[in-house]
């Protein structure tokens, strides 16, 4: 959206591309073309860079982290106290003090190492939650789109009920019902995002259901499952990827909010939302304990949002508004 001014000239190309996707011919040439289009979107590139950075530190966490993320430094290092300010030697911190790039938290754990390991937690949360929601959501959407009006009505009305609650509030209630753990929080956030994917999928099914090539496939005796796989999925995959990418950001955000309230990840697990929640009363005495995880959380969500926006503009002009 950012770099697509919406002029006639620039909207022409994606329309052609959308047709290519609609027919379902993802040849190497078409793939290369869409990759080129993605890389011509500034926001997609920035998003990719941010996400790449996060993946790098998540994969290399064990090498990048300077200390074990869950170990207290009390009695390990001389003079370590809880909530010790950052100490970086090249920035003038006395060399006889142990170096902690982002200081220590309330349990005298190294914040930098916890931040680094927290990227793993957040990425896993984002991808697993959204994957679960997409699988269930597309299933519901496909069934609703293919089956009778009554089933469709029933399924989509129940999706409406889920959508009638503000997502975070519903997740809050579900987590309470299930007991507050990280896994349950992920389930809760997945449940509240199911309707979004169900709607996307149903729309894709409805848009091709009456097409001639689907009628032809049916006449040739193709099963509903085959039609779904070969005719519907190629159409649905683009909006699903775009919605899913944006959804990862939302999922990370919502799970972090639940963690902040103490309803998801429990200490000592290194999770940014929990880190902020545990130390939020120390804002005035030890602000670095909140700023560091806050910045990382924002960066993660920003990365997925930018990539999602970029993908949408590049791949599917019908979705961009």
């Amino acid at each position: 959206m950012t770099s697509n001014p919406g002029g006639a000239e620039s909207s022409l190309r994606p329309v052609v591309a959308a047709n290519a996707v609609a027919v379902g011919t993802s040849t190497t040439g078409a793939r290369r073309a869409s990759l080129r289009r993605i890389l011509s979107q500034r926001s997609a590139v920035i998003g990719l860079v941010i996400i790449g950075f996060l993946f790098t530190i998540a994969i290399g966490a064990d090498f990048i982290a300077t200390h074990p993320p869950n170990d207290t430094m009390l009695r390990v290092e001389e003079g370590a106290r809880p909530r010790q300010a950052p100490c970086i030697h090249i920035l003038g911190c006395p060399a006889d003090q142990p170096q902690h790039l982002l200081g220590l938290d309330g349990n005298a754990r190294d914040v930098f190492s916890r931040i680094v390991h927290g990227s793993r937690t957040s990425l896993v949360i984002g991808f697993v939650t959204v994957a679960a929601a997409i699988v269930i959501g597309t299933l519901i959407g496909a069934v609703a789109g293919f089956l009778s009006n009554r089933t469709d009505g029933l399924l989509m009305r129940s999706m409406d009920v889920l959508l009638a609650f503000p997502a975070l509030l519903l997740a809050l209630v579900i987590v309470t019902v299930l007991k507050p753990t990280l896994f349950n929080a992920m389930i809760a956030v997945a449940i509240v995002s199911i309707p979004i994917y169900a709607r996307v999928m149903r729309a894709s099914v409805l848009s091709v259901r009456e097409q001639d090539y689907v009628t032809a496939a049916r006449a040739l005796g193709d099963s509903s499952f085959n039609i779904l796989r070969r005719r519907v999925m190629p159409n649905a995959i683009t909006p699903l990827i775009v919605t899913g990418t944006l959804g990862i950001g939302t999922a990370v955000l919502e799970v972090a909010a639940l963690s902040f309230l103490g309803l998801a990840a429990q200490p000592p697990l290194a999770e940014w939302g929990t880190m902020i929640g545990n130390e939020r009363n120390q804002l005035f005495s030890a602000p670095w304990l909140i700023i560091a995880p806050g910045v990382m959380l924002t960066l993660t969500v920003l990365g997925f949002n930018l990539l999602g926006d970029g993908l949408r503009d590049a791949l599917d002009p019908r979705l961009s508004r």
Partner: protein, 381 residues
């Protein structure tokens, strides 16, 4: 138009029913025995049996399903007998009488808890919405008008950051900036509470000498008194209004930033689309002033999607209120939700959830109806 409204109302009925059923069910499967929570140390088998009988908790949850020792058990043979006599029908009857039940933890009607806490949240939400709409639309219009300029790119960067920053992170960052870094400067702002410590003020009935008043008029005035800025302006206690407003600035901005960013983006893209239409070129060609073209021909036609996102953002504001009120120590609905979830006060959770969902449905309804006014084509189809 009336037919359009009625049709929309009818469509929301099954959704509302589903909402009531879902919140009811969720509240019944919440772990933790309400009897233990309410009676605490006085809880024993006898007192719990009495307690459950009094609150109707010994009945079937829904036809054929009982709750025993915290587990839901299905008893099909009891289904016909409990078809009409169960907790759900009892609850529906109660709702029909406008009764949301009694808070188990603090033995007050939920409606009373709502009335006491609601003004804070309404005040907060309204300021957040005002911030979101004015700033968001201004940024969106400016950036569409000067598209691809530095201002446009900058605005969209702010908007992207705005949708990405978690409410609680932004709230804490701002509290740090305005209450710690800028502590002694003139633009320092308080990071918590609704009023400065020790601030004394009169409620509206007190200020107007209506202390004798009772009944609904009194409730309404008390309700309004609890919105401190309204109280301050209405009764002329401007220092009260000012102090309350200062306390609301940070929470309102924290809460309103995500909708602000969404509104800015939507205004920009919608306006850009409209500005590319033929009738805009016609208007420009016949020599209308650019400002007139932008506002009368452009903005008016670009409003529909903007109104939609404004409506949708109300739900986000209600969720965000839980976080904002927790951070800034404002005792509104959001804090009640959080407290009753940690305290397992499921009657309150249920009542809040239903109320929030109804607000949400009503807002969506209002949005749909406003389409009818903004775009006659919606009304006619």
């Amino acid at each position: 138009m009336i037919r359009f409204i009625i049709r929309r109302l009818l469509v929301s009925i099954p959704v509302l029913f589903g909402i009531i059923f879902l919140t009811f069910l969720l509240a019944r499967v919440i772990p933790g025995d309400p009897c233990l929570v309410a009676l605490d140390q006085r809880a024993n088998p006898q007192s719990c049996a009495l307690f459950n009988a009094r609150f109707g908790l010994d009945k079937a949850v829904i036809p054929g399903v009982f709750r025993e020792d915290g587990q839901l058990v299905l008893r099909l043979e009891q289904l016909p007998a409990t078809l009409l006599d169960n907790q759900f029908t009892a609850y529906l009857g109660q709702l029909a009488r406008g009764d949301l039940g009694d808070s188990v933890a603090n033995r007050k009607p939920v409606t009373q808890v709502l009335l006491e806490r609601m003004p804070t949240t309404i005040e907060l939400t309204i300021y957040a919405l005002i911030f979101a709409i004015t700033v968001g639309m201004t940024l969106g219009i400016a950036s569409a008008y000067r598209r691809n300029s530095k201002a446009d790119v900058g605005t969209m960067m702010v908007a992207n950051l705005g949708v990405s920053i978690p409410v609680f992170v932004l709230g804490l960052f701002m509290a740090y900036l305005f209450a710690v870094i800028l502590k002694d400067s003139p633009i320092a702002l308080p990071p918590s509470g609704r009023l400065s410590a020790g601030f004394r003020f009169d409620t509206i009935p007190e200020a107007w000498g209506l202390t004798e008043l009772s009944g609904p008029p009194r409730s309404i005035l008390d309700f309004l008194s609890n919105m401190y800025t309204v109280n301050g302006v209405v009764t002329g206690q401007f220092n009260l209004a000012f102090d309350a407003f200062r306390h609301l600035i940070l929470p309102a901005i924290a809460l309103g930033t995500i909708p602000m960013a969404i509104i800015a983006r939507m205004t920009r893209s919608s306006l850009l689309e409209v500005l590319g239409r033929d009738y805009i070129r016609t208007a420009q060609a016949k020599g209308l002033r650019p400002r007139l073209v932008l506002f009368r021909h452009g903005l008016r036609n670009a409003m529909l999607p903007v109104v939609t996102v404004i409506g949708l953002s109300v739900g986000g504001l209600l969720s965000g209120a839980v976080l904002t009120e927790t951070i800034f120590g404002l005792g509104g609905i959001g804090l009640v939700v959080y407290e009753s979830i940690t305290g397992r006060d499921y009657v309150v959770i249920q009542g809040m959830a239903i109320m929030v969902a109804i607000i949400y449905v009503v807002v969506n309804l209002v949005v749909d109806i406003s389409y009818g006014f903004l775009d006659p084509r919606v009304r006619l189809s």
